[in-house]
Amino acid sequence: MKYSTVLLTTSLPAIFVFAPLAAAQPQSLTVAWYGGNWGDAFQSCVATPFTEATGIAVVPDIGTSTTTLSKLQQQAGAPVIDVAYMDGGISELAEEAGVLADIDIESIPNAANLADAATYRNGDKVYAVGNGYYSLGMTYNTDEISEAPASWDALWDEHYAGAVTIPSPSNSAGIPFIFFLNQIMGDTPDDMSATIERLRELDAALFFDSSGAASNAFQSGEVILGAHFNVGAWALIDSGLPIGFTVPEEGVWATDARLHIVEGTQNGDAALQFIDTALGAEAGLCLAERLYVGPAVTNVDLTEEVSRKLPWGETGSIDDLMLFDWNEVNARRSDLTETWNREVVR
């Protein structure tokens, strides 16, 4: 890693020459976020109001959290991205990789309403703030399955054999989902062999590596039951497809989309202003209405219809979510990916 970074930084002076010089008032702020309906929502709920208020244009850099982290690592020392949205888990990896700046939380007025659980610290440093929770729940085709499955065991029901889906380790939810299954099956994280054995028995149509692939499989009927994000599932339901989303009795695993300021950015003040806009009640409401992500700020008034679709349901709160210690999950990322390749896929 060190070698590659050195080589890259020494070989890029040609590009530096063309880089615009840092100005006091930036013309634009580059923000990395996800594609599809997520990106659209960030654009209209956060970026557009931010530009209207400050006159600073937002240049989106679209990619999944993992792709964004790869970019940040490759750009270390001379970042193009100023602010990055990344999911829980990848956020911890980014902090470990040293690509995140300290967020001066005191200078963000709207951070006063931020839930404690959504302020992520490494010692005294705040490296991330939450901008909305989402869950990986049970999603099913209502034409084929009339009653919402009560348990995650339904994935192994022979009626649905060959037509189920769960995330692959290439998806940011893949490894945590194995932890989740392991936990609800009563195994300890030290010995996941029983869970791996059950995953081996799973007759899946698809191990999805992107949320879009899962949505596509549900839409085409290739998959009739499986784990899918509440955001993607509700988007399908809202478009009139025969899809249902439910929280089985064992619960659902959840995580959040977080905001980060990139270490070495020349646009630190604008980045803080962007985060302030994102943590505002208007942005929280807008994101909840568009993506059904649970707000990480406490001052958002939601309608019943939207509340019903949030990861914690109508009456719940952040406290009801099954959130994992990401450092524990990340420590197992490599060996679980390897085990998955060798034992589950084969």
Partner: protein, 278 residues
């Protein structure tokens, strides 16, 4: 003379700088990372040992190259007659142009979109299975997605135009007087084809094959989408290491292994075709 030399130098310098900055430097970065120890940072061959001394990786390499070879063979078998039709049969120039446009048109759309299209076509309730079931050919839907067959169908569709264009180009360059001479000397049209036309078109077949093979073994999007995460090829392993595990050393070694094996296969194929031409 001097002026023209400096013009040539100027013309060569730009692509050379581009090639160095955007191909050689990233490739060297990957290569250096692949020889670096993830923990200690020193030079090591352990990343390669991890791949080459492990049966699992050899099985992935086998799947990758099996798909590459089959894709290339099918593309040639399908592409040659198609190129023949375009160059030799079609007389009306406008129709030929329309055919060429139809052939290259899919190249203007993203691989992702086309692969998603195949996901819909090859699915359990997709057009292919529905047609086969309606025709009474099968009782239950055949599983295409998540199998090597599904990936093969997608790769052949995406890479076929490259073979048709290179073979078509070679066929168009074949001197008709040689074929006429062969016919005048009493050879049948089949004999003329096998002994005159086909050998002359081999450069097109070889270059088309190299393009298709190299693109097929390094393809990520099509195998990733059509395998549904159930078939692993080298490119998928590389992506996994870079995008999810963040081990650029092992991922780099996987990428270099893929590159070396691809170059080896191409070298062997060129050698065989050269020996065959003698």
């Amino acid at each position: 003379m001097t002026a023209s030399r400096s013009v040539i130098l100027g013309l060569v310098a730009l692509p050379l700088v581009y090639f160095t900055a955007f191909f050689l430097v990233p490739l060297m970065t990957v290569f250096v990372a692949s020889l670096t120890d993830a923990q200690q940072g020193g030079m090591t061959f352990s990343n390669y040992a991890r791949i080459l001394l492990d049966e699992y990786h050899w099985s992935v390499i086998a799947v990758t190259f099996r798909l590459g070879i089959l894709t290339t063979l099918i593309c040639i078998v399908l592409g040659y007659p198609l190129a023949w039709y375009l160059v030799r049969i079609v007389k009306w120039r406008t129709w030929r142009r329309i055919c060429v446009i139809l052939l290259v048109l899919p190249l203007f759309t993203s691989n992702i979109v086309r692969s998603f299209g195949w996901m819909v076509l090859l699915g359990r309730n997709g057009l292919v299975n529905e047609t086969l079931q309606a025709g009474g050919l099968i009782e239950r839907p055949i599983r295409f997605l998540g199998t090597e067959t599904g990936i093969l169908i997608g790769l052949v569709y995406i890479l076929l135009p490259f073979v048709v264009l290179t073979i078509g180009n070679a066929l168009a360059k074949v001197d008709h007087s040689l074929e006429q001479a062969s016919a005048d000397l009493g050879a049948s049209s089949a004999s003329t084809f096998w002994h005159v036309t086909f050998p002359l078109s081999i450069p097109g077949v070889v270059s088309g094959s190299i393009i298709v093979f190299a693109l097929a073994v390094s393809a990520y999007v099509t195998p990733a989408l059509l395998s549904g995460g159930r078939v692993t090829v080298l490119a998928v392993l590389v992506f996994q290491q870079y995008s999810s595990v963040f081990n650029f050393h092992y991922g780099g070694a996987l990428a270099i292994t893929l590159l070396v094996f691809t170059l080896l296969m191409i070298a062997i194929a060129s050698l065989v075709s050269r020996l065959g031409a003698r």
